[in-house]
């Protein structure tokens, strides 16, 4: 009988701790200075990539939707590609993430995404698919583009807009203050990031639900 009592007791404790660990693992929207939510997603080659494998590096997450006029602005002008090229060259990991749900604007097949990357001469470290929107929602990605930077300690160092000009005009890229470049320069020089959060602008992420 005592064994029964103990069993009940331990079962309760086990159940409780499992619920709590599950609850703490899932959080919506990410805070500056909080540790970056982990994820695994498949890339254009169908290979699974996880955030974990880039541990210790500075990581940029770029939310994208090729049909969104604001994303078009940064790719048509070559702005996004220049950033990718420059910082990947400096050892930064650049992950472009597409969270468009199935049958939603900007949802691409792996082939379409490959073509897009070569056509635009984009050079992110990887282009990841998140059709369920799980990754996007865990970071609270609202717009395309929406940029997040994770420092080498694995905490979020920047979240928000790519630059300070929310116009859809392609000419607005020139002379805009690029927050991502600023933050990356600071992190690469081991300096604190001056502007750590801004309001992202762009189209809304086309989540499946």
């Amino acid at each position: 009988m005592r064994r029964f009592v103990l069993t009940v007791f331990f079962l309760t404790v086990f159940f409780l701790s499992s619920i709590l660990s599950f609850a703490s693992a899932t959080q919506a929207e990410v805070q500056i200075g909080a540790s970056a939510p982990q994820f695994t997603a498949s890339d254009v080659h169908g290979v699974n990539q996880s955030l974990d494998q880039y541990k210790g590096k500075i990581i940029v997450l770029e939310w994208t939707n090729p049909e969104c006029p604001y994303v078009v602005k940064h790719y048509q002008t070559g702005n996004m590609q220049q950033l990718q090229k420059k910082y990947v060259g400096l050892g930064v990991v650049w992950l472009t993430i597409n969270s468009s749900g199935e049958n939603k604007q900007g949802n691409l097949s792996t082939e379409e995404a490959k073509n897009y990357l070569s056509e635009k001469a984009a050079v992110p470290t990887a282009y990841l698919f998140d059709p369920s929107g799980t990754i996007g929602k865990s970071y609270g990605a609202k717009t395309t583009p929406h940029m997040f930077i994770i420092n080498s300690a694995g905490t979020v160092a920047y979240a928000g807009a790519i630059d300070d000009n929310s116009s859809s005009r392609h000419s607005s890229v020139e002379n805009a203050r690029n927050f991502v470049a600023e933050a990356l320069d600071a992190l690469l020089a081991d300096q604190p990031v001056q502007t750590a959060s801004t309001k992202a602008y762009g189209c809304s992420v086309k989540y499946s639900s």
């Binding site: 005592r2 009940v8 007791f9 599950f22 805070q31 929310s166 000419s171 607005s172 189209c203």
Partner: protein, 745 residues
């Protein structure tokens, strides 16, 4: 090269300029034309500047308030934007996504840095995001200083860009120009558009610094905005934040009203950037006393002490008093638990057990009693933490656990109904637990650990009878923060354990206890009434949040639930065979699921307002499925005739049961709602709940004497509308809608 020209003409606030240059002459138009020519930008081809431009999903016009301009005076101009139905434009703060229109004004080719005056926006829900903007025509107003030396003609130029969205977004832009004669005689001739100016000037928010407003923290995640408006009933109140980081845009805004105040509960933003000032606009219907529909406000943002869940100053005091009351009632509730039929007998048995175990040693009996009490307390703490865990897990899955969430309220109502029936003795459960109980009591162990563990078990075993009360406590615990919830559960546990501890201190008191008997049943049934009152109050809350129609379905679900529980209690009592019990449980689960499906509202939350009625010339409401219904008038039908869009008219009445069934079946179906959206169908509601000669006339046109009547008008064939059958099926509606052309083709 042309790019630098171009950039010089853009006001400072739209870009960052390294050099502090004042603009002198600017060949903006040439620059732009050159620029777009050079860049070959998609959709950025311009005709020559004009006063009116038609772009995808938007018509844009540059308007002047006056026919002639007076030198040295500020004259009013506006950009008029008319989005297509179901498309929207943005306000100066666009909300979760989107982008505000950017306007650059020019007088005789010189750019003037003048800010636009924005008419009141609406709160627009797109998917899980909330935006602020305009679903209908809007005038973005500006006052431009006409030079003192102006003679002959003045040319007003505007370079504008905007974003128009439905779910997808399309940026648009235009170069406008308008040349008007200068008149030095003091005569002011209003232009043909002057009434429009008047209309939209009335929709500009007025200064709200005279309002008696109070902003206080509710807890670490929410704020309470209190508006004291004596003797005025506020039908709806919406807060629109003036920038990022003021509130969490997509959280529902809950309105509660008293005789002298209207309170709006808002959620603080979850992530940076946080605004230090609480600024924005409050929209109210009926309008404020000065006739304005919205007022801009700016208040000091209360900083929440993150360590405590309690707010500050006077509201805290009230909160604390209230909380102490809750703790007291939890303690009393715990005491009452002891009087429940399946707990009360345990009391005597347990105490006698302690006495037997400890022989005659008083100190030892006391220790057993305390160990038992501690066991009870610990199990209550575990429960509190467990609830917290469920809440966290639930929130991660996107469930809301506040009384602001109609689904949660509906669940509570159903729970309360079940609890009341249980107290009435309509059904019982947990017989197997009681079987175990007697076995545990025979467990013979000298050590205090066993008393401690049996305290835990006693709590578990008392579940069948305590569940009703626990239900309420759990419902409360799920809504507050962990600290409060732990305190409440501690009090509950203390209440339950107190008699044991007392009796272990004074075993001779046992003789004083009344004998278990019939009085306990009476008492138990009596307890059902307060629970029913709670259910009643929750129903009232639910109706406020959703709609009378949703309330009807919830009541239906309650009755179905009651029926299934009665059946379970009647035909599958706890005394029945195990097999029969299983069948009964299965049946019960099925029926309860059905009643949950019926009772829970289909859409997450109803906007607590229909601000759209402020923003179009026709009155409109939003139903519980999020569809926007324009109210039927003959004038409306006349103008829709030329709108070239399909129109769906629902002739309905609250007392018509078929109408309600149709409504739930058709408008509750997501595929149909999506089709309405895809085909750009305009929805019109003709409500015949109270006799209305206009609607009676319309019904007569279709040779009908009553409702329901659902009619689909087709663009281009207005005189042959499709009359849908009286009893609708989804298939019929989908088939008709599929015949329509897609909106954009």
């Amino acid at each position: 090269m042309s790019a630098t020209f171009f950039n010089r003409c853009i006001p400072e606030r739209y870009r960052v300029m390294k050099q502090e240059q004042k603009n002198t002459h600017c060949f903006l138009l040439t620059a732009i034309l050159l620029f777009s020519f050079v860049m070959g930008l998609a959709k950025e081809t311009h005709a020559l500047p004009s006063t009116e431009i038609q772009q995808p999903h938007v018509r844009a016009q540059l308007l002047s308030e006056h026919e002639t301009l007076s030198p040295g005076v500020s004259e009013m101009f506006a950009l008029r934007l008319i989005p297509e139905p179901s498309w929207h434009l943005y306000w100066k703060y666009s909300g979760d996504s989107g982008a505000s229109p950017l306007l650059t004004w020019l007088i005789n080719g010189q750019s003037v840095d003048k800010d636009v005056t924005w008419p009141l926006p609406e709160r627009i829900q797109v998917g899980s995001f909330v935006n602020y903007g305009y679903r209908d025509e809007v005038l973005l107003l500006v006052e431009l200083p006409i030079p003192q030396d102006a003679r002959g003609e003045v040319t007003i130029g505007l370079d504008a860009e905007w974003l128009v969205c439905q779910e997808e977004c399309i940026p648009g832009n235009g170069i406008f120009s308008l040349s008007l004669p200068v008149s030095t005689d003091k005569q002011i001739i209003p232009s043909k558009d002057a009434p429009l100016f008047e209309k939209f000037l009335r929709r500009v928010p007025t200064d709200g610094s005279d309002l008696s407003l109070h902003l206080s923290p509710v807890n670490t995640s929410s704020l309470r905005l209190t508006l004291s408006e004596p003797s005025e009933l506020t039908e709806s109140l919406i807060f629109i934040p003036g920038g990022e980081g003021v509130i969490q845009n997509n959280a529902p805004q809950l309105l509660t009203r008293t005789d002298s105040t209207a309170e709006l509960i808002l959620q603080r933003p979850k992530v940076e950037p946080f605004s230090s000032v609480f600024h924005g606009i409050i929209l109210k219907t009926p309008p404020f006393q000065d006739g304005s529909m919205g007022k801009s406000i700016s208040l000091q943002y209360p900083i929440a002490d993150a360590g405590s869940a309690l707010g500050d100053t006077n509201s805290t005091q009230k909160d604390t008093q209230y909380f102490v009351l809750i703790l007291m009632s939890a303690f009393i509730g715990g005491l009452i638990l002891n009087l429940m039929p399946c707990v009360f007998p345990v009391l005597a048995i347990k105490i006698l057990g302690f006495v037997n175990k400890a022989g005659k040693k008083h100190s030892s009996i006391r220790a057993h009693g305390l160990a038992f009490g501690l066991g009870v307390l610990i199990s209550f703490w575990v429960l509190a933490v467990l609830i917290r865990g469920i809440r966290h897990a639930g929130e991660a899955l996107g469930w809301g656990f506040q009384l602001q969430n109609p689904s949660f309220v509906a669940l509570l109502v159903l729970l309360m109904v079940a609890v009341a029936l249980n107290l009435f003795g309509v059904f019982e459960f947990g017989a197997s637990l009681q079987r175990i109980s007697s076995q545990v009591d025979s467990a013979d162990d000298e050590r205090y650990l066993s008393s401690f563990l049996s305290g835990i078990l006693a709590t578990l075993l008392a579940t069948p009878c305590t569940a009703p009360f626990m239900g309420s406590a759990i419902a409360y615990g799920i809504q507050v923060d962990l600290i409060r919830s732990l305190l409440v559960f501690s009090c509950l546990g203390l209440g339950l354990a107190t008699p044991y501890v007392l009796l272990s201190l004074r075993p001779n008191l046992l003789a004083v206890l009344p004998k278990p008997g019939e009085w306990m049943i009476t008492f138990k049934q009596l307890m059902a009434f307060p629970i029913l009152l709670t259910a009643l109050w929750l129903l009232w809350v639910f109706e406020q949040q959703s709609s009378p129609e949703a309330l009807l379905w919830l009541l239906l679900a309650s009755i179905l639930l009651a029926f299934s529980l009665w059946m379970y209690g009647r035909f599958f009592p706890v005394t029945a065979s195990r097999h029969k019990q299983r069948v009964g449980i299965l049946l019960l689960v099925i029926l309860i699921s059905i009643s949950g499906f019926i009772g829970l509202p289909q859409s997450e939350i109803r906007e607590n307002e229909t601000s759209s009625s402020l923003f179009s010339q026709y009155e409109a409401t939003r139903d519980s499925y999020g569809l926007r219904w324009i109210t039927y008038t003959e004038e409306l039908m006349a103008s829709l005739r030329y709108a070239e869009t399909p129109v769906y008219v629902d002739f309905t009445a609250a007392w018509c049961v078929t109408c309600q069934v149709n409504k739930r079946l058709i408008f509750g179906s997501k595929p149909i709602r999506d089709l309405f959206q895809k085909k750009g169908v305009i929805l019109v509601k003709a409500d015949w709940t109270t006799e209305d000669p206009v609607i009676t006339r319309a019904l007569e046109m279709f040779d009908r004497l009553g409702v329901p009547l659902n009619v689909l008008y087709l663009p281009g064939d207005w005189d042959n509308p499709v009359v849908l059958p009286v009893v609708l099926t989804r298939g019929v509606v989908i088939e008709q809608l599929n015949k329509l052309p897609d909106k954009d083709s």
